[in-house]
Symmetry: C2
Subunit: 491 residues, 2 copies
Amino acid sequence: MAKELTPRSENYSQWYLDLVVKAGLAESSAVRGCMVIKPYGYAIWEKMQRQLDDMFKETGHENAYFPLFIPKSFFSKEADHVEGFAKECAVVTHYRLKTNPEGNGVVVDPEAKLEEELIIRPTSETIIWNTYRNWIQSHRDLPILINQWANVVRWEMRTRLFLRTAEFLWQEGHTAHATKVEAIEETEKIINLYAEFAEKYMAVPVIKGLKSENERFAGAVETYSIEALMQDGKALQSGTSHFLGQNFAKAFDVRFANNEGKEEFVWATSWGVSTRLMGALIMAHSDDNGLILPPKLAPYQVVIVPIYKKEEQLAAISEKVKEIQAKLKSKGISVRYDDSDNKKPGWKFAEYELKGVPVRIAMGPRDLENGTVELARRDTLEKKVLPVEGIEVYVMNLLNEIQENIYNKAAKFRTENTTKVDSYDEFKEILNNKGGFILAHWDGTSETELKIKEETKATIRCIPLDDEKEEGRCIYSGKPSKQRVLFAVAY
Amino acid sequence: MAKELTPRSENYSQWYLDLVVKAGLAESSAVRGCMVIKPYGYAIWEKMQRQLDDMFKETGHENAYFPLFIPKSFFSKEADHVEGFAKECAVVTHYRLKTNPEGNGVVVDPEAKLEEELIIRPTSETIIWNTYRNWIQSHRDLPILINQWANVVRWEMRTRLFLRTAEFLWQEGHTAHATKVEAIEETEKIINLYAEFAEKYMAVPVIKGLKSENERFAGAVETYSIEALMQDGKALQSGTSHFLGQNFAKAFDVRFANNEGKEEFVWATSWGVSTRLMGALIMAHSDDNGLILPPKLAPYQVVIVPIYKKEEQLAAISEKVKEIQAKLKSKGISVRYDDSDNKKPGWKFAEYELKGVPVRIAMGPRDLENGTVELARRDTLEKKVLPVEGIEVYVMNLLNEIQENIYNKAAKFRTENTTKVDSYDEFKEILNNKGGFILAHWDGTSETELKIKEETKATIRCIPLDDEKEEGRCIYSGKPSKQRVLFAVAY
């Protein structure tokens, strides 16, 4: 088989790369660090987008679009933001090419130099808060609940398809509120929304929590994140929601008259998920045969493959398949019928396994006679012969079962790979031999966190929101701690 | 009223700008030539996107995503493309900022200069055909039918919201075919799809045709366009579909083995529509009171405004409105209920007129008693009192009627403003006194076309596809001509 993947046990990174490329999800482009998202990969991303967009709209958010370019000077306005962030950026300095006067091709026209350089947005807080200044005068103009779907650029040195690329696609929400309480509520509403999306649609269990100061978004007062565990025992930060306080309002002078007529600075949040979610989806579920997609995000949930020797057989099978397709569609199930004649059934089976199609139905001449089909589910690779009669109900239930099974499998894996430790030796031993999430006490200082990172590469993924509080002593310093925090080596 | 628009008769351009800004569609940003698309404008664009995307998918196209950046050298590969196109572009030369060593803010790090400059895509033929080279080996890999939704940048000197901006949003289709015939079929299929979208959804009648050589896309063998007529008598090119021949395949060396095993260059098309369509939509229908939106693209088709003095009246009206909303929604009609208490009904009426909501329903205490509502349609401004009973059927039919009426009005305007002329004097007289579309004979030479443009500012918008052929003599040179072509002054 041409499309064999490197086994996970042999080389997990290579397995991931093989899978992304061979399943037709994405590939590297001619531009360093930028990827091409191929149709099958983009179709999954579109499903994610549609679902998230619906959830944003249901919670009162509207979409808008702000410029790709940000004047350089905007970055210096919020001090923490520029310190923590805006250095590795694509910088536009000129606005014209001209024919090379000395020969071939085109050169940059030195006459066409911008007065002020423009930065390709790495995130849009600055340009958006500069705009909000003109939109907000009174408390009646608040809240503003806006999201944008956009491309952003961060000049990453070490890139990996979907997980870390120079250009990536994302959504960024930017909201403005009259009170601190309301802004914090919004920040929390969104981290809950992200968690719901990850768990119900991606079938990826996540831990919600607060970031430590070190890992906080540049310019944020608090950063909330959802953290997922990959099959290699590493963590993947899958979404963040930031309470920005009044930092950007102060930097861009955005004030409003409150209902007593007094001027105040506006309270802000921002939040985003990106094509990085594709990486989480792939790495959380897939196996050495290829992708395993949750039915709710699969571009097509069922593929039907005919098995035949003669043209008449194909015609008869296709006739019956039409009926099955109609039945499945009546239940809202998306189906693809692959009757292409240049590939053998065995090749097709492997291909759709690679592509993670949740359910495969095969139908041959004997099935036709018996009124049956052969059905295979991707998650367990189990096969069954079933009557065509009632197939739509069977598949509908099966898709729900697969969605649940994938989630449960990932949750079980996470449980098995989450370890409570009470000493630094134990911490290092677990990290080296088992990996995964580690719950341990921490004294709350950046100093300790950085030391642990330096010595073990593990970072504090978050301070979990939903865990019970429990007193203890920091595994590193022995100082008192009020709650275990979540450590892991992260992507 | 604060939001009054400059009347069209006084200053059409100012009316347009007033309308775009005051209806909350878009505004200029802090970045020269770039706009902010505001939520209401973006909601209309989303409706357009969704419909077009459905139409692309129904015709077998898939979405994908290619990089924002294009290496400078790619532009020189297709000679006509670089000649006709790629000069006014945003050029990325550096990839890092650093803290200003001499004081405040950030500066571009001179150490972080790119070896080869990157151009922000003004269109993506080059990067896409460079990618297709690796995707295509055999005729079995064809056709490739891909579309992408993306932002592009062309450094325009004179910009106007939606109509011409440095950054704009669009879709660009890029297809690859084994034969010339198939590629031409695709090009024509898409121009027909665009025309259908413009007429059925935007309610804007368009003329389909071929561009003259002068107006052809740089690198195309033939460019098809749809041309719409605005209320000021100017034409607006609203979509283009290009048959690219083998030009890009040759430039990027994209070959395939045909079914006899012989190598051939691949045939190409590309096609696009952009946020410019928003300009067409606005200018084709709207009046001095504001937008007039076709129901099929209105973010909400019906707005309901309560009229009351006392809180108890509002409560009773709201109760009844809930029922009406449910009835309307059951027919697939989108409704907004504006019960905000900080604006008077008169203000709301004007606001929703400005925003072009197709149907407004008002309900006061007397209506409540009588079981009636007052209904106003935006296109004609007619008002009627109607029973609540059966309102959903009435509104459903009315929305269809409005959609049709808007189209018919625009079509009537176009008919009245399309003139056949047979002499150059007549041509100039019509241009000066009436404007609009002019059908005239042309000798087919670029020389004549450019002379006419120089002397009158009118250009050949297209050589219509659907007009009857008719022999005649060129209005400028007197040479023989086989068909009238469409002239106009264009946006």
